[in-house]
């Protein structure tokens, strides 16, 4: 570039000659040069701005276009990455403690109709009714020939049914894939599993939602795709559950009971190994809840968890345990149980109006004396009794992982008077579920810790806060053992398993209030085995049983619930891997010698 000089000599000389100021020329030139520089700089800046604008436009254009394509395209699994497990959107399986399937999914089809696409709606309706006799022919024909554009015909089809519908050859009948919940074991553990049904339904899929039991309690977890299909493992053992239900059903039929329930629980981990309630139902085809009458008459009613009953003398051990714990008595302390005994204007009587006279605490439990435990309750006082039972979990619904557990709210007296205190000591006036009782007995069996029952498999002991000392628990356990060896539960002895337990016979309260039925009872046997090293508690409850082998019908737990529980222990204990502890007889006359 050739720069024009600011003071060109020719013009300066010329200006001097004319007498003008040569500086004006320089200023003029300087001005021109500045203007040129300014124009150039502006041009450059404008160019840069343009480039920037184009760049920004392109960048935002790319972002916008990408957003557009993402929004408009169908979602699909990424193909190019090797991410290992792909998303598993199925509802997770439920398995028992040994991994055997209790609930799984099956692919099936639903049937829907597009009536406007039908060629011969009349024939379609007739043929469909032939395949599914439960459909209403007239209604179907009306729907097919009417204005409807879409209708569901069946929610689930078996492959054979699907083929038959296919064979009708009607283009207006269409199939949609469906995931179906299947309970391969039928009615086994029905009350735990609950059931499932369809939630929101579309043509291509439908969501499976739990409607009751553990399916509903863990609905969100089971549906969570992040599980990657990992099954939910329960503490239930399918074999033991099956054996327990079988024995319970046999006992229920033999003793003409209306219903029955059993709970088998590990005393250290709180795992419920088996929990049964009869009558039961098939979760694959869950019956509708009763709309009228008593809900507890429905097979859906879970007697072991929802059913709150006055569990009778099984509660006596809690009164004696607390009296031992507080140091008020020891197992040998003699208490006078002779009558009459009046509390708050009510007479406290014994079973069959017996009179036992002075008995030791241990014998009060063995003979099941109401007055004896009542006197202990009086010396404990209602406040302390209340606290103790609260610690044992008798005030809250059990924390079992099924939705029905919340319904098992124990019924407590409104005012905890001295009379309530006495009646509760022998199990009247406080209603709780058999599962509550299992948790209470577990505390005695495991050395004095509360343990919350759970349906999920645990890896180790889960002992809760201490509710009684180890010594009290051991002494109570000894008394429970004595009840079986020399007391009311003599039928409960199972050779080799050292069963201990307490019977309970409670009159059923009349439904509309006003006293108790004379000939309707709830029999309970709460047992612990083996008492030498307690591992399990078993509660068996029978609703309105009657034993008719004798001359008079017998309704005490010793004749009803106890034999059932003993049979259950005989069947279940070997399955639990418990070796019977039989005294080994030494061969007489043979001595180890050496020479």
């Amino acid at each position: 570039m050739i720069r024009t000089p600011l003071r060109p000599l020719a013009r300066i000389l010329d200006a001097r000659r004319k007498g003008e100021n040569p500086d004006a020329i320089e200023r003029e030139n300087l001005r021109i040069r500045h203007e040129q520089m300014r124009d150039k700089a502006r041009l450059r800046a404008e160019g840069r701005l343009l480039v920037m604008a184009v760049m920004f436009f392109c960048a935002f254009g790319v972002v916008g276009a990408r957003m557009g394509t993402l929004a408009a395209s169908e979602p699909m699994e990424p193909r190019a990455q090797a991410t290992g497990a792909s998303i598993i959107a199925n509802r997770a399986d439920i398995v028992d403690r040994k991994g055997r399937i209790m609930a799984t999914n099956m692919e099936t089809f639903s049937l829907y109709a597009h009536p406007q696409q039908m060629i011969d709606p009349e024939r379609a309706a007739t043929e469909l009714v032939k395949i599914f006799p439960e459909l209403d022919h007239d209604r179907l024909r009306k729907d097919f020939t009417g204005n409807r554009k879409f209708m569901w015909v069946r929610k689930k089809l078996s492959p054979e049914q699907k083929q038959s519908v296919h064979d009708i050859g009607e283009p207006g009948l269409l199939f949609g894939p469906r995931e179906m919940r299947l309970y391969p074991n039928g009615a086994l553990a029905a009350h735990i599993l609950g059931g499932a049904s369809f939630g929101r339904e579309g043509v291509h899929s439908a969501e499976v939602i739990g409607t009751a039991g553990i399916e509903k309690f863990f609905d969100k977890e089971l549906r969570d795709p992040a599980r990657e299909g990992a099954p939910l493992q329960l503490s239930i053992d399918l074999t033991i559950q099956s054996a327990a239900e079988r024995v319970l059903l046999g006992g229920m039929k033999l003793l003409n009971a209306k219903g029955a329930a059993s709970v088998l629980m590990d005393v250290h981990t709180g795992e419920v190994i088996s929990i049964a309630s009869l009558p039961d139902f098939d979760p694959n085809d869950r019956p509708r809840p009763l709309t009228e009458g008593d809900a507890s008459d429905s097979p859906l009613f879970n007697r072991a968890v929802q059913g709150v009953y006055e569990l009778g003398s099984t509660f006596k051990i809690f009164a004696s345990a607390q009296a031992l714990e507080l140091g008020l008595v020891n197992p040998g302390t003699v208490i006078d149980t002779s009558g009459p005994m009046k509390v708050g204007g009510f007479k406290i009587g014994e079973f069959n109006n017996k009179n036992y006279g002075p008995l030791s605490v241990s014998d009060i439990i063995v003979k099941s004396s109401n007055r004896g435990t009542g006197r202990m309750a009086l010396s404990i006082g209602s406040k302390r009794q209340k606290e103790f039972l609260e610690d044992l979990g008798f005030f809250e619904p059990t924390p079992l992982e099924i939705v029905e557990a919340k319904g098992g709210q124990p019924l407590l007296p409104q005012k905890w008077t001295e009379l309530s205190s006495v009646t509760i000591s022998y199990g009247h006036g406080l209603s709780s579920s058999p599962l509550h009782l299992a948790a209470g007995y577990a505390a005695i069996a495991n050395g004095g810790h509360y343990v919350a029952p759970t349906l999920l498999r645990q890896d180790g002991p889960r002992l809760g806060p201490r509710v009684m000392s180890e010594r009290t628990a051991a002494q109570s356990l000894e008394m429970l053992r004595k009840v079986v060896t020399e007391g009311t539960a003599s039928f409960g002895e199972v050779p080799g398993y050292h069963v201990g337990g307490k019977t309970g016979t409670a009159d059923k309260p009349k439904r509309r209030g006003g006293g108790y039925y004379k000939d309707k009872v709830i029999n309970t046997f709460a047992s612990v085995f083996p008492t030498t090293d307690p591992k399990y508690v078993l509660i068996v409850t029978l609703d309105e049983p009657v034993e008719t082998s004798g001359t008079k019908p017998r309704r005490t737990a010793g004749w009803t619930a106890v034999p059932v529980a003993a049979e259950m222990i005989r069947r279940v204990a070997p399955l639990l891997g418990l070796r019977p502890d039989v005294e080994t007889r030494h061969l007489t006359g043979i001595i180890n010698t050496s020479n």
Partner: protein, 114 residues
């Protein structure tokens, strides 16, 4: 010299284009294969689920019990009883194998009186 450079550059471009084209096709093929494998896995999973369900259904305790009862004559299966537990010391040691006679000696009393 310059023309040689041009030729070489041109050839390189053709080579690179060919390579890219080739790689693209290979990628497409691999993706297709991955998709097929994935579909296979999906089908296998569905089949596995059905087989598992069937296994569980056929092994349900009710059915096994009924089968045990039906076949009682042949199998004589009974529920597990407490007296079926044994102890290790009740199991006899296996008998030691009899030593084979490799070198038999003829024993005879003939001529003993001589």
């Amino acid at each position: 010299m310059r023309s040689l450079m041009y030729v070489l550059t041109f050839l390189t471009v053709i080579g690179a284009a060919f390579w890219a084209y080739h790689e693209n096709y290979k990628t497409q093929a691999a993706l297709g294969e991955a998709q097929a494998v994935r579909a296979e896995i999906r089908d296998a999973r569905a089949r596995l689920a059905v087989l598992k369900a069937e296994w569980a259904y056929l092994n349900r305790p009710d059915r096994l019990r009924d089968l045990a009862e039906v076949n009682f004559d042949r199998l004589r299966l009974m529920p597990l009883q407490p007296d079926q537990f044994g102890r290790v010391d009740q199991v006899a040691y296996p008998k030691p194998p009899e030593v084979p006679i490799t070198d038999p000696i003829e024993v005879s009393s003939a001529g003993a009186n001589e």
